[in-house]
Symmetry: C2
Subunit: 308 residues, 2 copies
Amino acid sequence: MAVPAPGLPARVRIHEVGARDGLQNEKTAVPTEVKAEFIRRLADAGLRTVEATSFVHPKWVPQLADAEQLYPQLADLAGAGVHLPVLVPNERGLDRALALGADRIAVFGSATETFAARNLNRTVAESLAMFEPVVARAKEGGAHVRGYLSMCFGDPWEGPVPVAQVVGVAKALLDLGCDELSLGDTIGTGTPGHVRSLLAALNGAGVATDRIGVHFHDTYGQALANTLAALEHGVATVDASAGGLGGCPYAKSATGNLATEDLVWMLDGLGIETGVDLAALTATSVWMAERLGRPSPSRTVRALSHKE
Amino acid sequence: MAVPAPGLPARVRIHEVGARDGLQNEKTAVPTEVKAEFIRRLADAGLRTVEATSFVHPKWVPQLADAEQLYPQLADLAGAGVHLPVLVPNERGLDRALALGADRIAVFGSATETFAARNLNRTVAESLAMFEPVVARAKEGGAHVRGYLSMCFGDPWEGPVPVAQVVGVAKALLDLGCDELSLGDTIGTGTPGHVRSLLAALNGAGVATDRIGVHFHDTYGQALANTLAALEHGVATVDASAGGLGGCPYAKSATGNLATEDLVWMLDGLGIETGVDLAALTATSVWMAERLGRPSPSRTVRALSHKE
């Protein structure tokens, strides 16, 4: 029974990250043909933005070392209107992506110095300088550019992240030419008041809500409540990972991406259009869970697939 | 970092159900002394309403057959201001509870005919008739009475439950003399718009929000988002189960109670007072998980107890 709540967007664009953010966190690399089928099934389930892979150096992310082999196998999807963004860390990655015809790229920044140092081996300012030619050249080539911004709420070393600090880096990414932002709660500590506070501060700094996506992690079980707070603010782009891939709740290293199915269950109930067929999506996550040899952490996948 | 969101209650009363709703769903009975220590630890963690047990016939709920032995062991807690409500199914149960000095009782009704028939072996009207003398006598004895209302959103046999039907049974429970209601999403299918719609309909029928508690299950991952919607409506009584007891996400029979820790994490972040010490509560759930021989399904418990 769909019961809309007033003031929410009529339609939400789900930015599906399972094939990239999910699979890059697997201990062992998934075969290229399984990745291709996974992405194809996600598109068949109605997802229209499926982040496909990352053109990062294989030394850092061996799980996605097959980007050059995978991406060309998806050409028919791109031709059928499915967006297939790819992550590029630097100009070398951009070259590889553009050579294959990628028309949607994403860069991955940090709101905190500590995470920038640990993840990018740079200061925040240095990372922005590194992204500058990447974004500029991507835009020159007509590509759409997404700017991921991690650690927007809490940071494992720095604790709570001041809203003004996040706004500063967010503005800098947009000033470089990014078309949209994805605000990441990388360690999942954020709560709904913090979400509203950050969104209001971004608006106050001139960032329109329609350029903002949200990327919540369920490490503390907050992802869907935070998503609701963002929807109530008008945000209409939400990142999620099919089956909750990208964080195994059984592992110490759990990152706990919001499961796309849990999100779609809520959006369906709210009468918000997504274009996604939940049954087909759940079947895809069950299929992928079998390939990975463990059950999906998504509660909706478990509930729907355990039906008697 | 506490970042309050406007319009939310300043304080939330958590109605802790782990010792009753949680343990009654365990395959094997937990020893009475473990139950007593569990309840004592929950009170020590700051919970002020800890549902203690059920005076139901041991044939139906053998896990709680020790109610007569357990309840007297908690006398000092009751004296120290901790509310220890007990569930009573009928007059016989009420007699047993009153004989031990219980001053807070709860009855357990159903919003749907199918669940009333299966769980209570009665029609809804017959169950209300059964509760009538229970509530009247409890009130005469000065006890506070809570009316649980299950299947307020979806029913496994009937599907979505019409709001008007829930309002009718809710009003009937209040007319019997119940002091407060607990609206249960027993199978966890509800979403935030549905929550708002039901709360508005109850208000429209003359039920004040301060007589309403909410009891969400996380079967589809919706419990905390639904809680946020209820808080935004002004609800300030929320049921939750320490460690998420009462529904194992690994079992087919998962009922998936909202974990108290996940709730407290959100409320702490929103600057809403609960009186609960999250570290002490988490330690209690870890201790209980060891007694039960399996990890807590609460994401916050997992995140906090896996800290390196």
